[in-house]
């Protein structure tokens, strides 16, 4: 992948994020619209880059830290577009795109070369596992952003952000969709583990924390029915849940030894 195109992508997202910031300061809707157009352009470029890497490698190239950050960033941008088009969340884009910049910024200095696929990963179950996992993570990241904004809105009560019921609705939807996709990731991963290693659940630290992520968000899918927890508590849980996701994705891969190393 060309580094120039990668920097161009980063620049597009940076301009979009800056646009949202200007929108908050100036409160001009055309600036927010321009940011949205930029995100559209960024997603198209990122999709093309991802597609090209997939085509060139012959498999979904999400096997190292650069590739996972890049894929995560793509999924987050795509999911933001979905929520923006569905709910017109505008200023929430600032926070989500900031998170996206952190992900993409983390990928920029890394080697873009496609690593050699180890034989055990050469199965469509791996691709499904990865796609569901990172799209699920992206929904959790979206829920985290919305959770933070919910707490801000509860305190500031500003016109810039959607109202509290809308933020709550988006948060719950993001958690629900993220949980569903992450569940599919776990199913695909378990079937793959059974045929690759002979057991469908492994007690390595990555698998254990993946189960923890699943249980945490399963709990959240139930917690929304407890009236006192709706809204504020749910927002805090979304933030805590993303902490668990980050530890599972980055903490274990970078700090601890696991069978899902990140290099």
């Amino acid at each position: 992948m060309s580094k120039t195109l990668l920097y161009l992508l980063f620049a597009i997202y940076l301009m979009a994020t800056s646009g949202y910031l200007l929108h908050i300061i100036w409160r001009r809707s055309f600036v927010a619209k321009a940011s949205l157009v930029l995100i559209f352009a960024g997603v198209i470029l990122q999709t093309a880059l991802l597609g090209h890497r997939w085509w060139a490698a012959g498999y979904l190239p999400v096997t190292n830290l650069f590739a996972t950050l890049f894929f995560f960033s793509w999924a987050l941008a795509l999911i933001y577009l979905y929520f923006e088009l569905r709910y017109r969340v505008r200023a929430t884009g600032l926070f989500v795109m900031l998170l996206n910049l952190v992900l993409l910024g983390g990928a920029l200095p890394r080697d873009t070369a496609v690593s050699v696929l180890i034989p055990a990963l050469d199965t469509p179950l791996f691709s499904l596992h990865i796609i569901f996992s990172f799209v699920g993570y992206a929904f959790f990241a979206m829920a985290f952003s919305i959770g933070v904004l919910y707490l801000c809105q509860a305190r500031l009560n500003t016109q810039l952000l959607p109202d509290l019921p809308t933020l709550r609705k988006i948060n719950e939807e993001a958690i629900f969709l993220g949980f569903g996709l992450f569940t599919l990731c776990m199913v695909a991963g378990s079937i793959w583990a059974h045929i690759a290693w002979g057991h469908w659940f492994s007690w390595n630290i990555k698998s254990v924390w993946s189960v923890l992520v699943w249980m945490f968000y399963a709990g959240m899918c139930h917690a929304k029915f407890i009236r006192r927890w709706q809204g504020g508590v749910y927002a805090w849980l979304s933030i805590a849940g993303f902490g668990v996701v980050l530890f599972t994705y980055l903490g274990i891969g970078l700090l601890l030894e696991s069978n899902h190393p990140l290099e």
Binding site: V116, P119, A120, D122, T123, P165, K169, E172, E173, F176, L177, G180, L181, T183, L184, V187, S190, I191, W192, H194, I195, A196, W197, G198, H199, W200, F201, S202, W203, N204, I205, V208, W209, V211, L212, M215, F216, A218, G219, H222, A223, K224, F225, I226, L256, E257
Partner: protein, 357 residues
């Protein structure tokens, strides 16, 4: 469940507790916190927890408990929480089934519940009555009994490791035959991600290796000959060379006794007899790193070592999980449930059915 069906108020309360949402959240939270802490204990105590991957829980836990109960107590405790959580899920499922006519829109969610219950039972079943074994070393032609499964035999017919030009292993192709009570029940070529699965058994390639079988020599007038333990080489109509033993790494002490040091090629030696019609004319050790023994030279046998003869063997993992079909059914229920739940989530929002959630 309708209260009218319960004559006993205590049972009614117990049922309400069993179906309690708050209990579900409390149990899931307790299990989550226990496993979170436990996973770090696990990471920093590999001596205790390394065997967790190689053994089923039913075998690993009692052994680990006897060694370090304070380090492993969280495993049964979190298991109990998950089990109670599954029981709670089962109560909710039964409760839903009794009112399925009015709550059918939750079918997706309850399929996920069903899948979770099946997975929990399947895990318990597999980890109490299954096994994990290996790596088992098999060379082509070898047969072995499957551990813990009397009457089952596994035969490796062919083994071909696939290696890319750079030396990186790409695949391990094993042609296997499974026998049950003397009858061939399955023949399958297995490779990475394509195991043999039969009656809860999962047989998969885990690695491979090479061992030295003997040595290749050049014999003037004959050409290349391979000599290993048990080889008989006719030199002439009246003279035969017999190899009694081949050692890859041999040592000879001061008394002349020869012993095997290891299986790696280091100081190879052959124990040889030369036979003619009258009997043995010479017997002794031929150390390949030394000169030919005088007895062989006298007999006119000028063997020149060329290269070792290697046999490639496969290392196979053999596991048995009697709950695997149940787990697969659970996974199927969950997958269908998630798809159904996604559909019904948006459908409910569209028609304004409880739009607040």
């Amino acid at each position: 469940m309708a209260s009218g069906k319960w004559p006993n108020p205590f049972l009614l309360k117990l049922w309400a507790l069993g179906c309690s949402l708050k209990l579900a959240i409390a149990l899931a939270s307790a299990a989550t916190l226990l496993i979170m802490g436990g996973s770090l204990v696990m990471h920093y105590n590999p001596a205790i927890f390394a065997g967790m991957e190689q053994e089923i829980m039913g075998r690993w836990l009692p052994e680990a408990w006897s060694r370090a109960p304070l380090l492993v107590f969280w495993v049964p405790l979190s298991g109990l929480c998950v089990l109670l959580f599954a029981l709670n899920t089962l109560c909710c499922l039964i409760d839903w089934l009794t009112m399925v006519r009015v709550r059918w829109r939750k079918t997706g969610e309850y399929l996920v519940h069903t899948g979770f219950i099946l997975l929990t039972v399947a895990y318990l079943w597999g980890n109490l009555s299954g096994f994990r074994s290996g790596p088992h070393r098999l060379a082509p032609g070898d047969r072995m009994s499957i551990p813990n499964m009397p009457g089952y035999l596994l035969q490796l017919e062919e083994f071909t490791p696939q290696i890319e030009p750079g030396g990186r292993p790409l695949d391990m192709i094993n042609k296997l035959v499974l026998w049950k009570n003397g009858r061939q029940v399955l023949q399958k070529t297995i490779r990475i991600n394509h195991p043999l699965i039969y009656d809860g058994l999962v047989i998969l390639p885990s690695s491979y290796g090479q061992e030295i079988q003997g040595f290749r020599f050049h014999l003037p007038g004959t050409g290349l000959v391979d000599l290993a333990s048990g080889s008989r080489l006719p030199i002439s109509p009246d003279l035969t060379l017999v190899v009694h033993r081949f050692l890859a790494d041999a040592h000879q002490d001061r008394q002349g006794r020869v012993m095997e040091i290891g299986s790696r090629l280091s100081n190879p030696a052959l124990q040889i007899s030369l036979l003619d019609p009258s009997g043995t004319i010479w017997q002794g050790w031929y150390f390949l790193r030394r000169q030919l023994p005088e007895g062989m030279v006298k007999a006119g046998i000028y063997l020149r070592p060329v290269e070792p003869v290697l046999t490639t063997f496969s290392l196979l993992t053999i596991n048995r999980d009697p709950g695997d079909k149940m787990a697969l059914t659970g996974g199927f229920c969950i997958t269908v449930g998630v798809i159904f739940a996604f559909f019904s989530f948006y459908r409910k929002r569209t028609i304004g059915d409880r739009p607040e959630i």
